[in-house]
């Protein structure tokens, strides 16, 4: 009951910020950019389906959403500590554990909403293309889209849990942002593998980031990242075993970060 109330409060705070809606507006442009890519650059490619536009919108939207997730989740903890509103919240008769979990759950709702929003916007140009090619399997396409959504949601929840964990360690939003950006190499890795390399034909050194936890966490996502730019993510036969394993590892990371962050937050002195 208390947790539900706290999640509601976090969502009210989150969706009352102008920045949240600016983020949504920016993400709304993603399908438009993709549509331009599909219709202008690859206009003659007859194999593109409407579901590809949605999936690609999701993938590119996820890259932008990663930035917002880092900013929003750091703002929820370090930002509130810096603004001293966390202090006011914690002088209410609520458990710190629930305050922290409420912030995390609000982030889950935010992530699901952002990706659902980008999917819906992507469906508009998707309809123009025509959702399915005559030889496509509707059920398979639905599974592909649902899995893409699930994978990206999990990936962003991982980012959020990591950033909340970092925000518990430091009251400085700037430090938390930097750590969040640096360690969430999924973002840089994806940009590198999916954007820089294909566009400029460059193969960049990745030795510095292969040791970071998120690189290790998402072998499946990394493997699939290059396919995503062409709207073919998960379109080949789905390796369910690798997918389960990858999601399992992500889940363990999320739980570990949440558990450690909750323990630290419970014992933390609120000085600001």
């Amino acid at each position: 009951m208390e947790l539900t109330r706290l999640v509601k409060i976090e969502l009210v705070k989150l969706f009352s910020r102008r920045g949240t809606w600016i983020g949504f507006l920016i993400i709304a442009f993603v399908p438009i950019i993709l549509s331009l890519y599909f219709f202008v650059v690859s206009g003659e490619d007859s194999t593109i389906k409407g579901t590809d536009v949605i999936e690609s919108s999701l993938w590119l939207g996820k890259i932008f959403a990663t930035l917002f997730v880092i900013i929003v989740s750091v703002g929820m903890m370090s930002g509130e500590a810096k603004d001293k509103t966390l202090r006011v919240s914690l002088t209410s008769p609520v458990s710190r554990e629930n305050v922290f979990l409420a912030k995390f759950l609000a982030m889950v709702v935010y992530i699901m909403t952002v990706l659902l929003f980008v999917s819906l916007i992507g469906a508009l140009p998707g309809m123009k293309v025509g959702f399915l090619q005559p030889d496509a399997n509707a059920q398979k396409e639905a599974v592909r889209l649902a899995l893409s959504y699930l994978v990206y949601v999990c990936e962003l929840i991982f980012v959020a849990s990591f950033c909340l964990f970092v925000s518990v360690l430091t009251d400085s939003p700037m430090i938390a942002y930097v750590i969040g950006f640096v360690f969430n190499n999924q973002l840089t890795d994806t940009i590198q593998t999916a954007v820089i390399e294909p566009l400029w034909g460059m193969v960049l050194e990745k030795t510095s980031i292969t040791y970071l936890p998120s690189h290790f966490t998402f072998p499946y996502f990394i493997e699939q990242a290059q396919q995503a730019i062409g709207g073919t993510f998960l379109s080949v036969d789905i390796d369910w075993r690798l997918l389960q394993k990858s999601l399992g590892v992500v889940g363990i990371y999320i739980l570990a970060f949440l558990l450690v962050a909750t323990i630290i937050f419970e014992r933390k002195d609120i000085k600001g």
Binding site: V12, K84, R87
Partner: protein, 307 residues
């Protein structure tokens, strides 16, 4: 319940710095309790400990009978707090802020929000965003949030800081009214001794994290002897005569400070006149909270015996 707050040997360290050093105090139910001390004495650290923002290194504390360390989340039920400068979500209106903080306390009705905003004089500006508020208005809003859900204990840290003189008077009136009509116990930390003497029934003075003295204001200021400032024609001769009569005399720049047993003030004048010394003025010196505070904080030793 006799005491709404009890601390026993409460200690808080920040590295090597001892911010609160074995503090023991009791706050009686229904009192307006002034918590005094010079800058850096450990007042805000103590309030942060009581509101579970900080964790003590040693000692016990109960708030409304609940152990703050063992049950820190729910010890604050029935407690309204304003710790240091109040902070709000600047992008939200004052009303929305009050509503959200009310939700954290289990929810409040619209009438109650109107009521607390009206009490602090923010009814008309309630729908304005907090970022447009002055420091004094935020201070008022902090008091409004602390008063939500009709607390039985109100912990206020420098509540009149940043307020204009009119605002200060209004806040004092609110405090008096809450204590008198609604039987709210108020724990008030303040630098303004004049303010404390106007509203508080009890005080506790701390210095360097240690308890110096506490008790009822009237008892602490009660004097066993009377002190007078005496201006005479010959101060040196007058000092000698008064000392011979076993009176306490301090020769000041151009006057004497004389202490005598209660009701014996008139003897000073008659004695000096009988010795042919002209008494130019004889002014009784009343003990104020300010003089008392300076006296006890300069001494710095625990005067628990005075409790």
């Amino acid at each position: 319940m006799e005491n709404v707050i009890e601390t026993e040997s409460l200690t808080k360290l920040f590295g090597r710095l001892v911010a609160v050093d074995g503090l023991s105090m009791n706050v009686p139910e229904g009192s307006v309790f002034g918590f005094l001390g010079p800058n850096g004495a450990g007042k805000t650290t103590t309030i942060r400990l009581l509101t579970s923002l900080l964790h003590p290194n040693k000692g016990k504390m109960t708030v409304l009978g609940k152990d703050v360390v063992a049950d820190k989340s729910y010890a604050l039920e029935g407690v309204g707090c304003m710790v240091e400068d109040p902070a709000f979500y600047e992008y939200l209106s004052a009303r929305k802020n009050v509503e959200l903080f009310g939700e954290m306390r289990g929810g409040v009705k619209k009438d109650e929000i109107d009521n607390v905003l009206s009490m602090v004089g923010l009814s008309e500006r309630g729908n304005d965003k907090v970022k447009t508020y002055s420091h004094g208005m935020k201070q008022r809003l902090g008091i409004a949030v602390a008063m939500l859900s009709s607390p039985t204990l109100l912990i206020l840290d420098e509540p009149t800081s940043g307020l204009d003189p009119k605002g200060m008077v209004e806040v004092r009136e609110i405090i008096k009214e809450l204590a008198a009509k609604k039987n709210v116990t108020i724990f008030l930390s303040s630098h303004l001794l004049h303010e404390v003497s106007q509203v508080c029934t009890h005080v506790c003075v701390i210095n360097k994290g240690r308890h110096i003295v506490s008790g009822r204001v009237d008892e602490l200021l009660a004097e066993e002897e009377e002190t007078y400032q005496v201006r005479v024609s010959d101060a040196t001769k007058a000092e000698k005569i008064l000392l011979e009569k076993k009176m306490k005399v301090v020769l000041q720049k151009d006057a004497l400070r004389v202490s005598v047993a209660k009701g014996e003030g008139a003897k000073i004048a008659s004695l000096l006149v009988s010795e042919h010394i002209d008494v130019l003025s004889l002014i009784p010196q009343t003990k104020t909270l300010e003089t008392f505070f300076l006296e006890v904080t300069e001494d710095g030793t625990d005067q628990t015996g005075k409790d």
